[in-house]
Structure formats: structure tokens, C-alpha cells
């Protein structure tokens, strides 16, 4: 992707941070699904072997997740556990955002044609050409809101609107980090992938791509907020 000369300067992550981010990504996905983790206690040795890194890096990533209440930690020990009570509000809101967004994409892909498909395409293309200034926020918000409002299920629309404040809060943060750090460039093409799946009437693919996109945004927000704290 070509960068314009007047584009705001974004910080390169460097190899150490890239690795940390990759590990964090993998562990978050493992925790959220039941992949690799089949008991309440999180086996650090097993995870280290599966990812192929030292235990310390795994523990660093687990500590970040613990700070966000996504897992729990025994006091004064490096022992981590799945949350036994319920997730905190941040995680609960993310679960809802991911669910509503991905199902809306599914429904859009079922329709032939999807309403507003031309505008969805324009917004997906615009996201690739952005200059990482504040314009990125309006383009991203319009893209996601348009998919929700095009899905045709009034209950999804109603509920998404009722949650819009929580969703917008962490989307703002996510986009802030996108403007600040040179995150994985593939992120900006994710809107295109979602549009393509909708335009090709591939509902399951549209659902998966949207889920991946929303989850990636959430992971990045948690990860980079630790850098700034």
C-alpha cells in the first residue's frame, strides 16, 4: 500500500513487538475458543510448545489478558485460569459486537443483491486509500453501520443501536492505535474481504471475515493499550 508524503508518522513495531503481538493474538484466540485449552487452569508449558516460544513470552501475554479480566490469576503466582464467573463488561460487549456484526454480514450475503452494496464497496475501497488521519474513523464507522442497517433484521439493528456507545468507545481506541502504530497492513484490506464475500453471496465466509476483523480490532486495542499505559 502506498503511503502519501503528508501521511502522519506511524511508529514501526519492530521485531520484538511483532512477536509479542503475534503471541498475544494466538493466545487470545485460544482462550476465546476452547482450542488448546481443555481445563480451567491454563497450561503455560503446553501453550509455549504449541506456539513455539519461551514461557516468559506466554506469561507476558497472559498478564495482559488478566489485566483486562479475560482470564484470572492466582495471587502472587504465575498460575492463570479461565474466568469461572462471568466475563467483565468489556469482553461481554466485544462478544456481542462480534456476534451482531458477523451475523449482519451473513444476512447481507444471503440477499441478492444486498441493499447499499455499491456504497459498501466504495467504503471498503476508501479504507485502503485513507491517509490515517481522522477520516479513517468516519469511513470505518459508516462501513460497519451500513452493513448492520442493510441486513434486514430489525432486531439486530435495534440491538446494535442500543449498544452503539459501548461499541464506538473501543472502536475509537482501535482506530487511534491504527493511526499511531504500523499494525499489520492486511487489516486495511479486511473491509474488502468482507465486501467481496457479501457481493459473491457467500454468507458463511462473510460471517467469518467480519468476525476475524472485529476480533482483530479488539485484540489490537487491548495489546496496544498496554504499551501506552
Amino acid at each position: 500500500m502506498n503511503e502519501k508524503n503528508d501521511e502522519p508518522k506511524r511508529t514501526e513495531l519492530g521485531p520484538k513487538l511483532e512477536i509479542s503481538k503475534h503471541i498475544f493474538n494466538t493466545i487470545f484466540n485460544a482462550i476465546s475458543s476452547s482450542e488448546h485449552i481443555h481445563s480451567n487452569k491454563i497450561n503455560i508449558t503446553d501453550l509455549s510448545k504449541i506456539i513455539g516460544v519461551k514461557s516468559k513470552l506466554v506469561i507476558d501475554a497472559l498478564n495482559i489478558l488478566c489485566n483486562y479480566g479475560i482470564i484470572e490469576k492466582k495471587l502472587n503466582k504465575n498460575e492463570f485460569y479461565q474466568v469461572t464467573a462471568y466475563y467483565n463488561d468489556i469482553m461481554q460487549a466485544h462478544i456481542m459486537h462480534s456476534m451482531l456484526g458477523s451475523k449482519a454480514s451473513f444476512l447481507c450475503a444471503v440477499m441478492n443483491p444486498c441493499p447499499n452494496i455499491k456504497r459498501i464497496e466504495e467504503l471498503a475501497d476508501e479504507f485502503n486509500k485513507i491517509d490515517y488521519s481522522n477520516n479513517i474513523v468516519s469511513v470505518d464507522f459508516e462501513f460497519h453501520n451500513l452493513i448492520i442497517h442493510s441486513c434486514g433484521n430489525k432486531y439486530i439493528i435495534k440491538f446494535y443501536e442500543s449498544m452503539s456507545k459501548q461499541i464506538e468507545q473501543y472502536k475509537f481506541l482501535n482506530l487511534e492505535y491504527l493511526m499511531k502504530y504500523k499494525i499489520d497492513e492486511d487489516f486495511t484490506y479486511q473491509h474488502n474481504k468482507i465486501f467481496n464475500a457479501i457481493a459473491l453471496n457467500e454468507p458463511k465466509l462473510a460471517q467469518v471475515e467480519m468476525q476475524k476483523h472485529i476480533t482483530q480490532g479488539f485484540i489490537d486495542t487491548i495489546f496496544f493499550s498496554q504499551l501506552d499505559s
Binding site: 469461572t84 461481554q92 434486514g152 432486531y155
Partner: protein
């Protein structure tokens, strides 16, 4: 309908607006199929039955119209209990599959023994060979509600509350058909599905539980669409 219903609602929430109380009473009557699709709602009759003036009844009917429980026709006056629109049923079941599969995944993942036991109790309630429509509806509904509760996600519960009356109505229509046609084996199949889902959760298989509940609900959708065709 009876004046007692008003008193009951006001006892629970003394500050409710009367039109909202009437709205809730009528929604319950429609969801419980005491008011069948196509029934004309007589403002005077309702206000006499409930022992109140016509104004709150009129206001309640407007709200029922706005929420899709009643409809109007160009060639006849008044409000009529709406038929279950296939389009709306499909939307509701889509939402049900979405939230219940997510809820069951979270329930299985959380592995909260207390909540899992409550789910098993709810599944067991349906085991007896009931033929009472209200009991079957209640126990089936309770099982699905318990799935949502056991997830611990308040937002899922909020979505469920948004559509719970419509869920109850469609569950009742299904059982009404099954009882009227003496399809006991179909009722037993529902019980088997519920128990199977509980076993999967107990065996710590969140993804499989997710698939099973989705299949169960999609099966219920197909049955409901068939029943509506027979109303």
C-alpha cells in the same frame, strides 16, 4: 380478561402507566393464544372487562400496532390480532439461533456447575409425559431462557427479553399443534434434544453444544412455519 389482572400488574409496579399495563396484559393474552390471530379487539369490551376507561385501552392498542402484535385493514375498522408473519418468525428464529448458540458456548466454556445443574433441571422438567399445553410451553420456554441466563452475558439476556413474548407464542403454537394431532413422539424428541444438549455441555464440548442448539432451533423454525400454514 379481568380487573384482577390490572391489580396484579399494579401491585408489582404501582407507578406504571395504565396504558402500559393494558399493553402488557394484551401482549400476554396474544402470546398465550387466548386471543387468536384474526380476533378483533373491541375497545369497549376490553375496558369493561378490565374496569377502566377507554383512553388507556386505545393507547395500548396503538402501541400493540406499533410493535406488530395487532394490525389494521383498509376495508374494515378496528384492530385485529395479527397473524404470525412468516418473515417475522424467520427473523426471530434467526436471532434465537444466534443468541442461544452463543449463550450455550459461553455456558459450556464457563463450566459453571451451578448454572449447568439449573439447565439440567429445566431439561428434566420436560421429561414427564405432559399433555397440558400451558405446562409444556412453560417448561420448554424455561429451558431456553435458562440457556441465556447460564451464559452470564447480560446483553444476550436483553436481546432475549426483546423477543420473549414472540418466542413464547411460537412455542405454544407448536405444542398446540402437536397435542391436537397427538404427536407424542415429536414432543419426546424435543425432550431428547434438550437432554442431549445438557450432556454435551457436561462433557465440556462448547463447539458441539453450539451446533446442537442451532440445529434444534432451526428444526423448531421449520416446524413453526408448517404450523402457521395450518392455522
Amino acid at each position: 380478561m379481568h380487573k384482577n389482572q390490572i391489580d396484579l400488574y399494579l401491585k408489582l409496579n404501582p407507578f406504571s402507566q395504565l396504558s402500559n399495563v393494558v399493553f402488557n396484559i394484551l401482549v400476554d393474552e396474544i402470546s398465550d393464544l387466548n386471543l387468536q390471530p384474526g380476533t378483533k379487539l373491541n375497545i369497549l369490551q376490553i375496558s369493561d372487562d378490565l374496569g377502566i376507561s377507554r383512553t388507556p385501552v386505545r393507547e395500548a392498542l396503538i402501541k400493540l400496532y406499533e410493535t406488530g402484535f395487532v394490525e389494521t385493514f383498509p376495508d374494515k375498522a378496528g384492530y385485529y390480532v395479527s397473524n404470525l408473519e412468516i418473515n417475522d418468525i424467520e427473523k426471530i428464529y434467526f436471532i434465537r439461533a444466534m443468541i442461544e448458540s452463543k449463550a450455550i458456548f459461553l455456558c459450556a466454556k464457563n463450566n459453571n456447575i451451578h448454572q449447568i445443574n439449573k439447565l439440567k433441571e429445566a431439561a428434566n422438567d420436560l421429561k414427564e409425559p405432559y399433555k397440558d399445553l400451558d405446562i409444556l410451553t412453560l417448561y420448554d420456554y424455561n429451558f431456553h431462557k435458562q440457556i441465556i441466563i447460564s451464559s452470564g452475558n447480560e446483553y444476550l439476556f436483553d436481546i432475549f427479553n426483546l423477543i420473549e413474548k414472540k418466542i413464547k407464542r411460537s412455542i405454544k403454537i407448536n405444542y398446540q399443534f402437536l397435542i391436537n394431532n397427538n404427536q407424542i413422539n415429536e414432543i419426546e424428541k424435543i425432550t431428547t434434544d434438550h437432554n442431549s444438549i445438557c450432556n454435551i455441555i457436561s462433557n465440556d464440548m462448547p463447539e458441539l453444544a453450539e451446533k446442537e442448539i442451532e440445529n434444534h432451533i432451526n428444526g423448531c423454525l421449520n416446524e413453526t412455519l408448517l404450523r402457521i400454514g395450518n392455522l
